[in-house]
């Protein structure tokens, strides 16, 4: 195929950039990827600590939180209910919008797409730079909310109106305003990224890189970008409308002025359900990338993997009503959403079986990225299966707004997205930073994380089935929850252990960044294009020549070659002669 990028920038390939151009005004997709990664990891510390505070309160309600005495001086360390509501609201907001999205879509979207399709950079490098700046600005505004009087938003990450629409109902004024402004800016950032990803994938693939030779992680990020492009304007409008209700006196969501509280839920979930797939699709792509490399086998059912992601992309617009079964939405509509919600499980099932098919007959190497990718598959299965309970409307009547939902969402976004993110970090770190992560520390991080993740979140199914509502400050206020309290204590200890296990990751990350073993070009003997670039790749990636692609990305253990991998850009003499 013809590609203008092939020749256009060849003469620019060798040059040095100054400090400011390299680290601040950088338009290099790899630097922007690193910036997104650092943003996400920094925010993960905050989001994780907030989760610990929430867990303390649920296990030992209204006792002084260890280590928070200096902050909560008036109550001598006891968390008041307003602060508790703020803690879980901001835990979810930060983890979803400032950890998973920046790491999966922001960092790895930026890093993987150009390198894996053989482009020199994104289609719009300056737009890309603007995107990370907007993300930093948005993150700054979000963090500023912690320091305003009355504290940060405390209406849940879903910010249901009218609670979120009237300051006196919530007791929070500028916190919620800043929350809305921050998300508004973040949607602009993500939209710029999405347009860039879509354009880059469509226009800038290297010669020979047809759509069906693209690595599945590129497919997943491409489809994620389409979802972002279509979903975020809805969130953007909704946040603007809510902000106007709060500050300008409009009544979009307030019945006293003719508004409709459920309109917020329709807008929010019309964005929110595709958002769930925005969080999980890149992780699915990463697992699809990493499993073949370490099973030394082609991915099972490549086309089925692509079509199932497209099916998810399409169906994700038609399922959002399942968040609203008991909201007062017309129950007849609920029936239609039951069917679509059940059906969207099918593409996920196909993907799971294809991952298993990929392992079948392999020659599996248990590296740290592989362990995380396998954990992703196993945990995603649990998260997917628990979703079937909610799809069944009658069952959802009972489990809606209980810890069963909390368990489900964490199996999907922690068990799924975060294990996917860890897999991706362990896998691409050598290419990103030119050094290997330490595998011993990697194992020390993975095993406790995997064990304590399950000990933290599996019992939440049980307390949910017991009827424990989410977002309650003190379960001991309810007689029917008394007998479940020991589970809450157990979950909290597990959560603390899960949090502590992350220290191994932090140590590994920073130690390896500066002192890790130098990474070879292709440490995992992988086929895809990023591994032929130097580690880390220079500005514009490819030196003089853009690679030419001759085959699909998963030709492992091919009978055509002696080694068990067959890079996408390697030409066989006979084949190459036949083609040109």
């Amino acid at each position: 195929m013809s590609n203008p990028a092939t020749h256009a920038t060849v003469h620019e390939a060798h040059h040095e950039l100054g400090f400011v151009r390299t680290y601040i005004f950088s338009t290099d997709h790899k630097m922007i990827a690193r910036q997104f990664l650092f943003l996400g990891l920094f925010m993960m510390v905050i989001g994780g600590l907030l989760a610990m505070v929430v867990r303390w309160q649920l296990a030992w309600p209204e006792t002084p939180v260890a280590g928070l005495g200096w902050l909560l001086t008036e109550t001598e360390g006891v968390l008041p209910p307003e602060a508790y509501n703020m803690a879980f609201t901001m835990h979810a907001t930060i983890m979803i919008f400032f950890v998973i999205m920046p790491i999966l879509a922001g960092a790895f979207g930026n890093f993987c797409i150009p390198l894996m399709i053989g482009a020199r950079d994104m289609a719009f490098p300056r737009l890309n730079m603007l995107s990370i700046w907007a993300a930093f600005l948005s993150g700054g505004v979000m963090l500023a909310g912690f320091f305003v009087p009355q504290g940060h938003a405390a209406s849940g990450w879903t910010a249901y109106a009218p609670l979120s629409a009237v300051a006196t109902y919530q007791g929070v004024n500028w916190g919620q305003n800043l929350w809305l402004i921050s998300l508004f800016i973040l949607t602009i950032s993500s939209l710029m990224g999405a347009i860039n990803y879509i354009t880059t994938v469509i226009n800038m693939r290297a010669p020979g890189m047809t759509f069906f030779r693209m690595p599945l992680v590129v497919w997943s990020l491409f489809i994620t970008a389409i979802l972002l492009l279509l979903a975020l304007p809805v969130l953007m409008s909704a946040t603007a409308m809510l902000l106007f209700d709060r500050t300008l006196g409009t009544h979009w969501f307030l019945p006293e002025g003719g508004g409709e509280p459920l309109l917020w839920q329709h807008l929010f979930w019309f964005f929110g359900h595709p958002e769930v797939y925005i969080l999980i699709l890149p992780a699915m792509g990463m697992a699809s990338e990493i499993l073949p490399v370490f099973a030394r086998k082609p991915i099972f059912g490549y086309r089925a993997m692509v079509y199932s992601m497209l099916a998810i992309c399409f169906l994700s617009w038609m399922v959002y009503g399942h968040h609203m079964f008991v909201s007062g939405m017309d129950p007849r509509v609920g029936m239609a959403f039951t069917l679509t919600t059940m059906v969207i499980a099918v593409p996920s099932a196909i993907k799971t079986f294809n991952w298993l098919g990929t392992l079948w007959g392999g020659n599996i190497r248990f590296t740290v990225p592989m362990l995380n990718a396998l954990a992703f598959v196993a945990m995603f299965v649990i998260g997917g299966l628990s979703g079937v309970f909610m799809a069944s409307t009658p069952v959802d009547i009972f489990i809606q707004d209980t810890y069963f939902i909390v368990a489900h969402i964490h199996y999907v976004v922690f068990g799924g997205s975060i294990f996917g993110a860890f897999a991706a970090i362990y896998f691409w770190f050598p290419k990103m930073f030119g050094r290997m992560l330490n595998p011993t520390l990697g194992h020390l991080h993975f095993w406790p994380t995997f064990v304590f993740f399950n000990l933290t979140f599996f019992p939440q199914h049980i307390v949910g089935v017991g009827g424990m509502m989410r977002r309650i400050y003190n379960p001991m206020q309810y007689e029917f929850l008394q007998h479940l309290q020991w589970w809450n204590v157990f979950i909290t200890w597990s959560a603390f252990a899960l949090g502590l296990a992350q220290i191994f990751f932090v140590i590994n990350f920073f130690w390896s960044l500066f002192a890790g073993k130098k990474a070879p070009l292709n440490p995992w003997q992988s086929n895809t294009l990023e591994w032929i670039a130097p580690s880390p790749p220079p500005h514009l990636n490819w030196g003089d020549r853009i690679p030419t692609v001759y085959r699909g990305p998963y030709e492992y253990s091919s009978p055509e070659v002696a080694e068990d991998w067959f890079p996408q850009n390697r030409s066989l003499p006979a084949r190459a002669a036949a083609r040109h």
Binding site: Y160, L163, Y169, G171, G328, A349, L359, V381, S386, T393
Partner: protein, 220 residues
């Protein structure tokens, strides 16, 4: 086994919900065991060995068709089983002369009975804080309203949950099968006092209920 943890069911439609819960539990549990066993077996059988070469295959169309069609059928059947129950609970309001208004506000349930004349807004209406009294074995219709923010009436033992939305009047029903005192928490985050916003549902025997009515409306 997860259903061991379900609170005791005391409503007519509750057993249908519990049946679906149990059914989905066994189906998803079975699928999970199959997937987990297959995965562990593959991980052990096909672990790295010097000199081993992985099987070079890109897929298997008949197998892929099977594992697409079978889950689809199971899920469509689950939909077909769910919808009649859903329709019965949320779409078919039973005929009854017992209507109770529950007005939710931060952070209480204001419960109003129409009194002997059966009409709301008349002098014999009577209002209670956080207390609902109903007889066993009789359908009860709740008229749900909300004054400020969204709340949600949750009766775990009756498998009942319905949001109360400001500006709307939502009708919902249940029929209790066993006398007793059951907790009625709010299940939708409604502000700093959300936790602890709860009332009690008193399910009386018919005789006790008549006695309670006599106490409240002695003149009639």
């Amino acid at each position: 086994m997860l259903s061991w943890w379900l609170p005791e069911n005391v409503s007519t439609f509750g057993q249908e919900i519990d049946f679906l819960f149990e059914l989905i539990y066994w189906i998803t549990g079975g699928v999970f065991v199959l997937v987990a066993v297959a995965m562990l077996a593959f991980l052990v059988m096909y672990r790295h060995r010097e000199g081993r070469r992985a099987r070079y295959t890109h897929g298997n169309t008949p197998v892929e068709i099977v594992w697409t069609v079978v889950p689809t059928l199971i899920l469509v059947v689950l939909t077909a089983l769910s919808i009649p129950t859903w329709a019965r609970i949320k779409m078919q309001l039973p005929q009854t002369d017992l209507k109770i208004e529950v007005m939710a506000k931060q952070f209480n349930w204001i419960v109003t009975y129409p009194g002997p004349d059966g009409k709301f807004g008349t002098d014999d209406d009577k209002t209670f804080d956080n207390e609902v009294h109903v007889p066993v074995g009789k359908p009860v219709v709740l008229v749900l309203k909300a004054k400020d923010v969204i709340h949600s009436v949750f009766l775990p033992n009756l498998r009942f949950k319905q949001d109360a939305v400001p500006g709307r009047e939502i009708l919902a029903w249940f029929e209790a099968t066993k006398p007793g005192k059951y907790e009625m928490p709010c299940a939708e985050l409604c502000g700093f006092g959300h936790s602890g916003m709860r009332g009690w549902l008193f399910v009386h025997t018919p005789a006790d209920y008549q006695k309670w009515v006599k106490e409240q409306w002695p003149s009639s």
